[in-house]
């Protein structure tokens, strides 16, 4: 296990992501953030707070679970998926939606999240914001906002620990 970033750096990266989103969408009447469980949910919640503090008038926040849309459900064996709740208490129809995740890797998780989201409504626009893009994309999916590109050797995993979820804040490679 090697420490890549500490809590202060994570905080800076989240702030950087908020600046990208604000620069692009700050003049929009309202946007909706969807945190992808579980990496994106708490990052998304923080982004909501920051964007509102920056002066955006309406930033709705929801959490989306993509488990039942995964393309590897029949291949997981004893790495069984755990279905968790999706919490979206507003309409997605005609909304600008920004999906939030911690790490972009193959793109399959994002694909599943997009399919899950589309069954809730029809946004007018969908953007993707990630803290880290480690490359190795297996699908033609790219993030619109990326805090940092990280070079992670194949076979290694990058894990983002968030205080609200893990009790500690850091990024590790193992």
């Amino acid at each position: 296990m090697a420490l890549l970033f500490d809590a202060n750096q994570i905080s800076d990266y989240i702030e950087k992501l908020s600046e990208f989103i604000y620069k692009d969408l700050g003049n929009s009447k309202s946007i909706a953030l969807l945190g992808i469980r579980s990496g994106g949910e708490f990052i998304g919640k923080r982004l909501q707070k920051i964007l509102l503090e920056k002066g955006m008038s309406q930033v709705d926040f929801g959490i989306i679970d993509n488990t039942i849309y995964r393309d590897d459900l029949n291949l997981m064996g004893d790495r069984q998926p755990r279905i968790r709740t999706t919490e979206i208490d507003f309409s997605l129809d005609d909304r600008i939606v920004v999906m939030i995740d911690d790490v972009l890797y193959s793109g399959r998780s994002i694909r599943a999240a997009i399919d899950a989201m589309m069954d809730f409504g029809r946004p007018s626009m969908v953007k993707l914001a990630v803290l880290f893009d480690r490359g190795g994309h297996e699908l033609p999916i790219a993030a619109d906002y990326v805090s940092e590109k990280v070079d992670v050797p194949s076979g290694k995993k990058i894990t983002v620990f968030i205080e609200e979820k893990d009790g500690v804040e850091k990024v590790e490679i193992a």
């Binding site: 679970d65 488990t67 039942i68 849309y69 459900l73 029949n74 291949l75 997981m76 064996g77 004893d78 069984q80 998926p81 755990r82 279905i83 968790r84 709740t85 999706t86 399919d115 899950a116 069954d119 809730f120 409504g121």
Partner: protein, 322 residues
């Protein structure tokens, strides 16, 4: 109780609740929590069981359970085959075993079976490779009904532990009662069986329950009242003096509701004999969760279908119960 995030569901079959641990029951509920939203949005479909084939193999009449399983499978994008004994080769003398094996030969993944003989679902697990879900076998158990009842209690009351729950009526002939008893016991509820002695199971004293034939006496203490129908079709001979006598002593009336806690939860697995075990005003009243039980049944059955199929992907040595 929150499950460990690494919990693995290991049962390819769901035959009874008697053997399920608290962690297993909670895992079904957490999975149902996550799947409930599929039925609440405009596109009531998710692809999780796409390409899977589920067979409803019903040898007894059913409205709710059969429809609920078919819809649950459909919501998860599985293909559903409906089989009724009356319109099948069963009428020509084909055995249950041969029926199931012939259907399996067409390529199926899960069998949902309801049969008049206790143990029939278990027997099926020994002669087919598909997942088997018991939808009610004789007087034995009706696992998904028990689960949805308790899922509903959990929704209404939070933790089941310590809650006083009465099951009232024809306990002797009720597989629903048995499933409820085992799972409620596992989760730490205090269970009361209420009814005339003639409708109590012979070995009721060996169950983790308190048996009571005075409904009025315990009403004020109850958090949940689960009313059962007299199963005339399953009983032989007279078990009650008259329907009027039974309704007078054990029917849940508006007057009896006045003696209950204001937030008591009133349940019934259906079908209801209005005016016998329950007055219409109570069945349709603010404390009734009868329709909620039906909608929760969909989420619970989606969860069970998903989980047994996930368990079927495990090597046999890592599974529980075959």
């Amino acid at each position: 109780m929150k499950n460990n995030k690494d919990f693995i569901w290991r049962r390819k079959h769901l035959l009874e609740l008697k053997d399920l641990s608290e962690a297993e029951i909670n895992h079904i509920f957490e999975t149902a929590d996550g799947l409930k939203v599929v039925s609440q949005r405009s596109i009531k479909k998710a692809p999780s069981l796409r390409g899977k084939v589920i067979v409803n193999l019903f040898f007894e009449d059913s409205t709710r359970t059969r429809t609920s399983f078919a819809l649950a499978a459909s919501r998860l994008s599985a293909d559903v085959l409906e089989f009724t004994a009356k319109a099948s080769s069963i009428s020509k003398g084909e055995t249950l075993r041969d029926t199931a094996r012939n259907i399996e030969a067409m390529g199926i993944d899960t069998v949902v079976v309801r049969h008049g003989a206790a143990g029939a679902p278990h027997m099926l697990t020994e002669c087919i490779d598909a997942c088997v879900i018991n939808a009610g076998d004789g007087f034995h158990e009706h696992p998904t009904q028990g689960l949805l009842d308790i899922y509903t209690i959990r929704e209404m009351k939070g933790d089941v532990k310590g809650k006083k729950i009465a099951i009232v009526g024809d306990i002797a002939h009720s597989r629903v009662a048995r499933s409820n008893i085992w799972a409620l016991h596992t989760l730490g509820a205090e269970i009361f069986l209420v009814g005339p002695p003639t409708l109590m199971p012979p070995a009721a004293d060996q169950l983790p329950v308190t048996v009571c034939d005075n409904f009025d006496a315990i009403l004020p203490d109850l958090d949940v009242v689960n009313m059962l129908r007299i199963q005339f079709e399953r009983s032989s001979g007279a078990t009650i003096p008259s329907i009027a006598d039974y309704a007078g002593r054990f029917g849940l009336t508006e007057n009896r509701m006045k003696r209950c806690k204001p937030d008591v939860t009133v349940m019934h697995p259906g079908p209801i004999n209005r005016g016998i075990e329950m007055e219409s005003a109570v069945a349709d009243g603010p404390n009734s969760t009868i329709l909620k039980q039906v909608s929760n049944g969909l989420a619970v059955r989606m969860a069970v279908l998903f989980l047994v199929n996930q368990a079927s992907l495990l090597p046999p040595s890592e599974r529980v119960g075959g």
